[in-house]
């Protein structure tokens, strides 16, 4: 399968790989997908004054899944939570020129973002 240059760039030089302390109350963690489906994404955000100051990811999946989550962390940094919530998978599809069979990777990335925000909000609510 031919990948776009952008997918290959993110795949070969993934941005923001890593782990934030999931027990930190300023960190939100989203873990989506399933090993049986061939994709698992973990996306984490660190929030300060309603702003995402750091984002990290780790992904088990194909090249497009890795690229989608890498791009998602780049998009998240510096955004407010409200702005982050509005990120759509179509933006990822467009930016990475994902083929139709790989659109689910971008959907998963969007889910991971939403799930991380939710987790953060839940923690704050407590």
């Amino acid at each position: 399968m031919a990948y776009s240059d952008k997918v290959i760039d993110h795949y070969e030089n993934p941005r923001n790989v890593g782990t934030l302390d999931k027990d930190n109350e300023n960190v939100g963690t989203g873990l989506v997908g399933a090993p049986a489906c061939g994709d698992v994404m973990r996306l984490q955000i660190q929030v300060q004054d309603n702003k995402i100051v750091d984002a990290k990811f780790k992904t088990f999946g194909c090249g497009s899944a890795i690229a989608s989550s890498s791009l998602a962390t780049e998009m998240l940094k510096g955004k407010s939570l409200d702005e982050a919530k509005d990120i759509k998978n179509t933006q990822i599809v467009e930016e990475l020129a994902l083929p139709p069979v790989k659109i689910h990777c971008s959907v998963l990335a969007e889910e991971a973002i939403k799930s991380a925000i939710e987790d953060y909000k839940e923690k704050q609510g407590k």
Binding site: P14, A34, P35, G38, F60, C62, L108
Partner: protein
């Protein structure tokens, strides 16, 4: 094999092989010089082509201990499998309407069997154990008085697992059922003997044994029992009426020469390939944890090493090791998103079935290439594991099977 710069190291010998230069040399005169139609009985052009075809037929037959007259040339193993199953089910329709095959067969057997089922035939698909072998008791129990044919592959194209053909042949004989085997991966690599194994029909192909693409054959037993088939292709009545069409003398000559070389060099080549395979497997295991062998190191065919690297996904690993031309599962499924149905049938979890890579080692593979392959795989597996949340969880001692995964959105 002519190795080219800027091309990955070829490790996909189960998909196809380069034509051996010795085979090309044999073929060359049969394009412009010796071009006659082997069916032309009236002049010397036809006679010399016919002679070349018959010599090739003999070399091919010798590799499976068959009579040369039992070899029917086709375009390849896919056509042979179609002819064997459709041809037998049609010809013996008065005897019965039941066929039996196995879950791990190549797509061209599975899809042909499914087509026959759509046409109203009865189909039984047998499961396999975790090594990929069919259970002989299951097989015996599946046979009914309506069973016409049983089709079990010799060697699996993904894992290299060999079936016990002799035992299966014996059961078929006892029950008066035709025994067909798709031997595309076994032919020329392991000893095959149609008499000893009780095989009635065998599909073989040239391009898996360093011969040209576009030529294969179906072995069709003529005695004890005399097997008859309804042809798929009608016409001039070539190949005992079972496969009409002008024979491709050049391809057949290539197929014959490839078979001759395979027979002559089978043992030393097998020993060399087994040694390379074990070397690669051991080196990878020394340097990486959680590497799983799909199939068996001892029982599989010499050049097939199918491994699952836990916690990383096969497609991304293939992308990472782009300096190696390998395949995830079979060539036919690696373009799709499905995980391997062969590995799933062997009871491997979906996660491991998603992480399998087939390394094919063949006639032109060198020790240096294996060293490069090991180094590449170790480096990239480590890199991808650093990216994998599953690896991190595994390292933290979390049992991944206990996690409630959110997979209702379907995924693959």
């Amino acid at each position: 094999m002519i190795k080219r710069e800027n091309m990955p190291i070829y490790m996909d010998y189960q998909a196809t092989t380069p034509v051996d230069p010795r085979v090309v040399d044999k073929m060359m005169p049969y394009f412009s010089e010796i071009f006659g139609n082997a069916a032309s009985r009236t002049h010397a052009y036809g006679w010399e082509s016919e002679k070349a075809v018959e010599t090739a037929r003999k070399h091919i037959a010798e590799l499976i201990s068959a009579d040369a007259k039992d070899i029917i040339f086709t375009s390849g193993a896919t056509e042979s499998n179609n002819l064997a199953l459709k041809g037998a089910m049609d010809f013996y329709k008065d005897k019965g309407d039941h066929l039996i095959t196995v879950a791990t067969e190549h797509k061209c057997v599975i899809d042909t069997a499914r087509y026959l089922k759509q046409q109203g035939k009865q189909l039984t698909v047998l499961p396999v154990d975790d090594a990929g072998r069919v259970n002989l008791e299951d097989l015996k129990n599946a046979i009914t008085d309506k069973t016409v044919i049983l089709s079990v592959m010799g060697v699996n194209n993904e894992t290299g697992t060999m079936q016990d053909l002799k035992a299966i042949g014996k059961i078929c004989k006892e029950h008066g059922v035709l025994f067909h085997t798709d031997a595309a991966q076994a032919f020329g690599k392991v000893e095959l003997d149609v008499e000893d194994m009780g095989i009635d029909l065998m599909s073989i192909s040239a391009h898996k044994i360093y011969g040209p693409k576009g030529i294969g054959a179906l072995y069709v037993r003529r005695r004890k029992p005399r097997v008859r088939l309804t042809p798929l292709i009608h016409g001039g009545g070539q190949e005992r009426g079972m496969r009409s069409g002008t024979l491709s003398t050049s391809l057949i000559v290539g197929f014959g020469e490839a078979s001759r070389i395979a027979k002559e060099e089978m043992e030393p080549e097998a020993n060399r390939l087994i040694e390379l395979k074990k070397y690669m497997y051991n080196k990878l295991n020394e340097q990486l944890e959680e590497v799983y062998l799909n199939g068996s190191l001892e029982d599989g065919i010499p050049g097939n090493l199918n491994l699952s690297f836990a916690f990383i996904e096969g497609e991304s690993l293939m992308m990472a090791i782009k300096g190696l031309a390998v395949s995830s599962g079979s060539a036919c499924t690696s373009a799709s998103l499905e995980s391997s149905y062969v590995l799933k049938a062997m009871g491997k979890g979906d996660d491991l079935a998603h992480t399998s890579i087939r390394f094919g080692i063949g006639r032109f593979t060198t020790k240096e290439e294996i060293e490069i392959a090991v180094e590449t795989v170790v480096r990239e597996v480590n890199r991808l594991r650093d990216l994998s949340p599953l690896w991190e969880m595994f390292k933290e001692g979390i049992d991944l099977s206990k996690i409630q995964w959110n997979d209702e959105h379907g995924g693959h």
